[in-house]
């Protein structure tokens, strides 16, 4: 490596000691005894470009030869000078005071200082910061000025020459490089100059400096040319304004302007010197300079490229500063954008390169192997149940589309998500591709299987299982027999016999009007019943899960129902379907004798919420007579229901978890179970209703049942049905016979008797209030929402009133008088919390009163 022209051939010297002697520095002792041979270790290569780097050979170009450029500019300036009659010096001397005032901020530094700054940006700043103000009014020559700052030497002498004799006539350089201008350009220049002329001073020196300026640009391609130092210092004219910020543009245009300028300057000479305007313009100059500097600094090469574009320059020249600024900003923005894009692209390329080192690590067979594994996990014979939720979800979303199940021919499907509306394009494409691939693989596997004709489908799909790991697997110790569950065991009772028993019981229920007691003791199967402890919670849960499984199987089977009803396939399907339904029915234990346990197994099964939710699905699957059986059993065991047994918890004021649970259960019961019951009652004949009511008396404490929401609801629908039947408005059943009416009448009287004197306790509001501890709480407004809880009670009472005889109605009114008055009073006197509560109270009362043919407005307090 050589620096600053040192000879670098030392190692070669060592090899050829003879040559070394020719050098004046060849005093080294290479190769001699004491030499440690470190020189050998030095890297002495790569010297080829030294010359290019550090100069010393050939033409190195002038791209960075700012000073040199300036020098030539000087030359041109002088060339132009003789064309003007007045020597600028004199002029300036004529108006020294004004100029000094103008550039007053001057730091009186000698001009040459500025030239030392080598960097383009700083140079500009410097020259602007000081040149404006530098007292170079007098063109005192600075001798050898150029040598200080022009290391590029070749033009240095030239510069020096040109610089010192500022006014010496020179051959006009511009003549040597003529340039053809378009008419447009000339026009624009004229316009611009005319504008300036109006503003600028008429100082004689101006014209001179203008001409200098105009010639300054000439042909140099570098943007470093903006320090036309002499011009600025000598001519503080506003003419600078145009050029200064546009150094980059000058190169093309300045030369072109020259002739035009010369003429214009003549006119300018006559104009007055306006000092203020000059100052103003000076400020503008500074701003624009800063801009130009910024552009040069940020833009770098691209900026230069853009700004040097002839069209743009032309354009920008004709614009005012704001427009130019806008253009500059725009250009900057574009540059930045381009740089960002480039950066992005680079990063991406880098990432790809990073990843590419893993390219081709897997062979094609590896990939196939993995695909096989994945596919073997995905493909299933039963895509619907394997990915149940995804299938249902897609079915819900794409309602109307033909089945969402992904299927491959007849072979099955994928057990993963379904092609929904997932974003267009690539993904869908990928899905399709995968589907096609999977299909291909599946088919290939099938063919292979056929060829081999043996081995299970999945065997080998995951590779051979080595014998060793197979043996290492833990041995199965527990042998759980299918069907060994106790729950399932005793479900296999003789259904036929049970059926008979229930029919008998239903018959008994029909006779309930005469002798409710007899109804169940007369059960012929009673003697055979083996009493069992009630199902444990765990047993119930196991049984429910089993039921759900059967239920799902049935639903699955229904989806696969064969089209052709005549075919053997359908026969088989039908048989399987029937069998499953039978199993479901048996497992639900509706047919288990009543006395088996308390609660009855069936009641136990619908104790958990999921049991309640399963019930409607079950009943949908079974036939109508069986539904009636279910209804009978439900009514007979009504008092055993958890929602009835736990109902007292609902009357507790404070919010406990138990209460919340009971609330949920009750809601689930009313939502899931009750609609079915309602549907059954809607079509029931009167004798069935009488039988049900009779069973209800039998089953347990009617009053307690009536105090629960489900119980009250049941009673209400039964009574309402009777009203409908009595009116004969339902035409699907034959009108009740006189015996049936008679039977009903006695049952109803029994019911009325049971309930009378306890009617008030049916109201949740009453129960809550009485359960409150005596004390402040007693007088405070009871918890809100009780009026809504009361509503079913009022409804029931209305149904009761409709069925009641005259005397019974009177008894009703007498008993409820207090409650009605309380409600009406508090509603009328505004003792209620808000309007909705008031309206609820009135509506409740009216429910009952309307049944009697009265209205709350008739009550006078």
């Amino acid at each position: 490596m050589s620096f600053f022209g040192f000879d670098t051939t030392l190692d070669r010297d060592k090899r050829n000691p003879g040559e070394g002697n020719h050098e004046n520095i060849a005093v080294y002792t290479f190769g001699e005894d004491g030499y440690d041979a470190l020189g050998d270790a030095l890297d002495e290569g790569l010297d080829e470009l030294n010359d290019e780097t550090f100069g010393g050979s050939g033409d190195i170009g002038k791209d960075f030869d700012y000073a040199g450029q300036t020098g030539t500019a000087m030359e041109k300036l002088h060339v132009a000078a003789p064309e003007y009659p007045q020597p600028p010096i004199q002029v300036k001397l004529d108006h020294p005071s004004s100029l000094e005032a103008l550039w007053a901020q001057a730091s009186p530094q000698p001009n040459h200082k500025q030239h030392r700054v080598p960097s383009a940006g700083r140079h500009v700043e410097d020259s602007w910061g000081r040149a404006d103000t530098s007292p170079m009014v007098a063109p005192a020559p600075v001798p050898n000025h150029a040598h200080k700052f022009d290391p590029f030497s070749s033009d240095a002498a030239n510069f020096g020459q040109g610089y010192s004799p500022v006014l010496s006539p020179r051959p006009p350089v511009h003549h040597a490089q003529p340039r053809i201008r378009t008419l447009q350009e000339i026009e624009m220049e004229q316009l611009a100059l005319a504008q300036q002329a109006r503003l600028s001073s008429s100082v004689p020196s101006l014209s001179n400096s203008m001409s200098h300026l105009s010639m300054g640009g000439s042909e140099s391609p570098s943007f470093g040319r903006y320090h036309h130092e002499p011009e600025y210092t000598r001519s503080p004219s506003m003419a600078n304004q145009q050029y200064v910020p546009d150094e980059l543009e000058q190169q093309l245009l300045l030369q072109a302007q020259q002739q035009q300028l010369l003429q214009l300057q003549q006119h300018l000479l006559q104009q007055r010197h306006v000092q203020q305007q000059q100052q103003l313009l000076q400020q503008q100059q500074q701003q624009l300079t800063a801009q130009a500097v910024a552009a040069a600094y940020f833009g770098g090469a691209p900026a230069k490229a853009i700004l040097s574009h002839p069209d743009l320059m032309e354009h920008s020249l004709s614009m005012d500063p704001e427009q130019r600024e806008a253009v500059m900003t725009e250009a900057m923005r574009k540059i930045m954008e381009a740089e960002r894009m480039e950066e992005k692209r680079r990063r991406k390329a880098f990432k790809i390169a990073q990843m590419s080192k893993y390219n081709d690590i897997m062979t094609q067979s590896d990939k196939d192997f993995i695909t096989r594994i994945q596919v073997s996990q995905l493909v299933t014979q039963d895509p619907y149940s394997e990915d149940f939720y995804a299938q249902v979800f897609s079915a819900l979303r794409s309602r109307g589309d033909t089945g969402g199940v992904i299927k491959f021919g007849s072979s099955g499907g994928i057990g993963v998500g379904v092609l929904g509306h997932r974003g267009p394009g690539r993904r869908e494409n990928a899905m399709q591709k995968m589907q096609a691939q999977v299909e291909r693989i599946v088919n290939a596997a099938k063919n292979r299987e056929k060829e081999k004709g043996n081995s299970a489908a999945l065997q080998g799909a995951l590779g051979r299982v080595s014998g060793r790991s197979y043996k290492a697997a833990p041995r199965q110790l527990l042998q759980v027999e299918p069907g060994s569950s106790p729950v399932l065991a005793h479900a296999t009772a003789n259904t036929k016999e049970d059926n008979k028993a229930h029919e008998a019981r239903e018959g008994v229920a029909r006779a309930a009007a005469q002798a409710e007691r007899e109804a169940l003791t007369g059960d012929p199967s009673a003697g055979e019943v083996v009493r069992q402890p009630p199902l444990t919670h765990r047993q119930v849960l196991v049984a429910i899960e089993a039921l759900y499984d059967v239920m799902l199987k049935i639903e699955q089977l229904r989806r696969d129902q064969p089209e052709d009803e005549e075919s053997q396939l359908f026969q088989r399907w039908n048989a399987a379907h029937e069998e499953l339904i039978e199993k479901l029915w048996v497992d639900f234990k509706v047919m288990v004798p009543l006395e088996t346990s308390d609660p009855h197994p069936f009641i136990s099964l619908i104790a958990p919420i999921k049991g309640k939710r399963l019930l409607p699905r079950l009943l949908q699957a079974v036939s109508q007579p069986r539904r009636n059986l279910f209804f009978t059993l439900l009514v007979a065991c009504f008092s055993q229901l958890d929602v009835v047994r736990d109902a007292p918890l609902l009357d507790i004021v404070e919010d406990t978890r138990e209460k919340r649970d009971v609330e949920k259960q009750t809601e689930a019961f009313l939502v899931s179970v009750f609609p079915t019951v309602l549907g059954l009652v809607k079509h029931a004949p009167l004798r069935l209703i009488s039988g049900m009511l009779g069973l209800l008396f039998d089953g347990g404490d009617l009053l307690n049942i009536a105090r629960t929401k489900p119980g009250l609801a049941l009673l209400t629908i039964l009574l309402s049905r009777v009203v409908v039947l009595k009116e004969g408005s339902s035409n699907e059943t034959e009108p009740p016979t006189p015996e049936e009416l008679q039977q009903w009448q006695s049952i109803f009287e029994h019911l009325f008797l049971l309930l009378s004197n306890h009617l008030l306790s049916l109201f949740p509001s009453t129960r809550v209030t009485t359960s409150l501890p005596f004390g402040p709480g007693y007088y405070v407004q009871p918890p809100k929402g009780l009026d809504f809880a009361d509503q079913p009670v009022w409804q029931f009472l209305a149904a009761l009133a409709l069925n009641a005889s005259m005397t019974q109605q009177q008894a009703l009114v007498t008993e409820l008088r207090e409650k009605v008055l309380e409600n009406v009073t508090s509603a009328n006197k505004g003792w209620t919390a808000d309007e909705t509560e008031r309206q609820a109270k009135i509506a409740n009362v009216n429910l009952f009163l309307h049944a009697l043919g009265l209205d709350s407005s008739q009550i006078v307090l």
């Binding site: 919670h537 765990r538 196991v542 499984d549």
Partner: protein, 98 residues
């Protein structure tokens, strides 16, 4: 998914399945426990529960007392719906019946 419970309980998860939509007690790492209604679970024992009461046991060191002896304070909070990540689950059980 179909046949398992009809053949009885065959794997531990079948026991959890029994508790679906039932109230369960879940013990978690970090001295936490939950009671709530179990809605769903998976092979990682991720759980989805509703109506959850979470109890966090916090041991507050007592000044002067030896290490390990402090006041155990239970902080409770209620959540309507909760997704429990399976890696924190220690045990799932039906709540003790009273």
């Amino acid at each position: 998914m179909a046949d398992v419970p009809s053949q009885g309980v065959q794997e531990p998860f079948d026991l959890i399945r029994l508790s679906l939509s039932e109230r369960v007690f879940v013990k978690l790492r970090g001295d936490r426990q939950l009671t709530g209604v179990l809605h769903a679970y998976d092979g990682h024992m991720n759980l989805i529960m509703s109506d959850v009461e979470e109890t966090i046991m916090i041991v507050e060191p007592v000044e002067g007392a030896p290490e390990g002896e402090g006041i155990v304070r239970a902080v409770k909070r209620n959540l309507d719906m909760l997704f429990v990540r399976g890696d924190g689950v220690i045990l799932v059980s039906p709540p003790s019946r009273t």
